[in-house]
């Protein structure tokens, strides 16, 4: 482990945003925004440079304090982490630019929400830290950084609805992290280490490991709003300021998913049964159908988009049953593992780009019209063609029509489903797509319909529309380097691996 090349980037990716956030506190509101934006661009650039570094060098590490695990903490940047960091960098930079114009436009009335910048930089540092962390307890600290800054951003608007939703979100987040930490305590007690790499070697199956897996999964499911713990997500995401909604749905919920994936695949393999995977998949499937249906029934644009997040996150959970091999299936013969992993990573990226673009567009519409009732979208195509185009493109990616990133993800998911013979998931994927098509086309139909009476309309800065459109295009462009990207991802140990599930009925090792 420690013979891997050392790089300063992992440390910088966490340290720098927090340093800039701290510095920005010294400035007055306008200065906070300038320093904050600079910090965001810097962090984004750093993320991309780090991605290139990993592409050239392979996995890099940073041994914090010079103390080897298990006593010390190791930051580890493999290709999976690098791709997530790169995605955060790109989406983060666009959202930051949008936020700059968005808050400039409202500076006169609301003071421009200067606290957005330090909080967002803290959030970014937390996300980078989470992707890089290789230590169970350190992961807890990073999810707390993410959780607190995310809730603080969500309540920034000062609206009552946002604050009630924010408190619900915060209580769910604290409960989730405490459940996670209970699992960590049990794992530490039974192995004496917190390092993921060492844990994989020493973790033994048993009642304690199974229970730890249960509470850790429970905690992370609460954090990523997996069914049935999705209740906090729609109100929190829909009541936040537009750039914040985009951040929350594009990036924050993916953090918990990333840990869940890593821990299941890299650490807890010894305790996972085939039916556990099916259960998670079932939760995902219900989320897909329920979330899409709810989105279809909503009347305001932001609520539609927020419910759609529940559904899109459901797809992510549906890759878990595919990655767990039934007893007796050899890992070598399972040719559906790579498509399933690809589906997961691409679903994360496509959703991040498309959903960010969707929320940013919703923010533009609210800024122009003053509200976001879906009926008001009438005749928007002639007045804001760029925004409607962004919604259209992002919507196509969410539905999963070719040649979008969303299509690629769902196609790979279906491929994995059929190759593995778990055909019962396929109708869910298709039904989800149809329901998504339902609400996306409903919105587009309204946008192109002629209005009976013209609503008052305020012009919005062009920069906002460009950011939303570029992000929407991003959800298509990610398909172009697919082949190269998958090849790169395969250099990560986790990517393409499956779990040899243990027999049902608990054949515990040392019971």
């Amino acid at each position: 482990m420690t013979d891997l090349p050392t790089s300063p980037f992992p440390a910088l990716l966490v340290g720098l945003p927090i340093l800039v956030a701290t510095l920005s506190l010294f400035f007055r509101p306008r200065g906070k925004a300038v320093v904050g934006l600079m910090g965001c661009l810097l962090t984004g650039g750093l993320g991309l440079i780090a991605l290139v570094e990993v592409m050239q060098q392979g996995t890099v590490i940073h041994i914090l304090g010079g103390w080897d695990p298990p006593l010390g903490i190791l930051l580890r940047m493999d290709s999976l982490a690098a791709v997530f960091i790169g995605m955060t960098a790109v989406v983060g930079v666009f959202i930051s630019l949008y936020a700059w114009w968005f808050f400039r436009a409202r500076e006169a009335t609301n003071g421009g929400f200067p606290l957005f910048w330090p909080l967002w930089l803290f959030l970014w540092a937390g996300l980078n830290g989470l992707f890089l962390s290789n230590d169970l307890f350190n992961l807890f600290v990073t999810i707390e950084v993410i959780g607190m800054s995310a809730v603080a951003l969500a309540v920034l608007s000062g609206k009552t609805a946002a604050q009630i939703a924010g408190l619900r979100y915060l209580l769910a987040a604290i409960t989730g992290s405490m459940a996670y930490l209970f699992g960590v305590a049990l794992i530490y007690g039974s192995t004496g280490t917190l390092d993921l790499g060492l844990l994989r070697q020493v973790l033994e199956p048993g009642a304690t490991t199974t229970f730890a897996l249960l509470v850790i999964t429970l905690g992370l499911m609460i954090k990523m709003a997996g069914f049935p713990f999705h209740f906090w997500l729609p109100p929190a995401h829909s009541s936040a300021l537009a750039p914040v909604s985009a951040l929350l749905s594009a990036l924050v919920v993916k953090g918990a998913f990333y840990i869940l994936l890593r821990l299941w695949m890299e650490v807890f393999g010894v305790s996972i049964t085939f039916s556990a995977g099916q259960l998670i998949g079932l939760a995902g499937a219900i989320a897909v159908i329920w979330g899409s249906w709810q989105a279809f029934m909503q009347t305001s644009l932001k609520l539609i988009v927020a419910h759609s997040s529940v559904a899109q996150l459901g797809y992510l959970l549906m890759i878990f049953p595919l990655l767990i091999l039934a007893p007796g299936v050899a890992a070598g013969s399972a040719d559906w593992l790579s498509p399933a992993w690809t589906a997961g990573v691409y679903q994360v990226m496509a959703h991040a780009f498309a959903k960010a673009s969707f929320f940013l567009s919703a923010g533009i519409i609210i800024m122009a019209l003053g509200h976001d009732h879906k009926g008001s979208l009438r005749d928007l195509a002639s007045r804001m063609p760029m925004t409607v185009m962004a919604i259209g493109i992002a919507g196509v990616s969410l539905i999963g029509l070719p040649p979008s990133g969303g299509f690629f993800a769902k196609w790979m998911l279906l491929k994995g489903i059929f190759l593995s013979g778990q055909w019962w998931w396929a109708p869910v994927v298709l039904a989800g797509s149809f329901l998504t098509a339902g609400y996306v086309f409903m919105l587009l139909r309204l946008a192109f319909a002629t209005a009976r009476e013209k609503e008052p309309f305020r012009p919005v800065p062009k920069g906002l529309e460009v950011c939303a459109l570029l992000l929407a295009l991003g959800s298509f462009l990610i398909v172009l380097p697919a082949e190269y990207l998958i090849q790169f991802l395969e250099s990560s140990e986790a990517f393409g691996s499956g779990i040899q599930s243990i027999m049902e009925g608990g054949t515990y090792g040392n019971d």
């Binding site: 607190m148 009630i164 987040a173």
Partner: protein, 100 residues
């Protein structure tokens, strides 16, 4: 029965009490207190293991983790309390109205 075994059982009980409290309590403040009780259970679990693994002194790593954890938990609880009080000022509500 050794000391650490008593407390480790207590830790599980506290964790479940706290978890139940988060879901079942109605008042904001009680929900926040419940999260702290949950945390108390988790930290007790860590510290019990530290005592079990003691040589000349108890295992220092869980102690350090717990100190970190307590501070983090208190920071989020303080934030939750601030939000709860703000909501009470704005609406006069002391619990989620459409609570499950």
């Amino acid at each position: 029965m050794e000391t650490y075994q008593i407390y480790i059982l207590t830790s599980a009980v506290l964790f479940v009490i706290g978890m139940g409290g988060v879901f079942m309590a109605r008042h904001f403040i009680k929900k926040i207190i419940a999260t702290i009780i949950m945390g108390g259970g988790v930290f007790l679990c860590f510290v019990s293991f530290a005592q079990r693994d003691a040589l000349t002194f108890a295992d220092p790593v869980p102690h350090a983790l717990v100190i970190t954890g307590i501070v983090v938990a208190v920071a989020s609880a303080a934030f939750a309390l601030a939000l709860a009080r703000r909501i009470y000022q704005l609406t006069g509500e002391e619990s989620f109205t459409n609570d499950k």
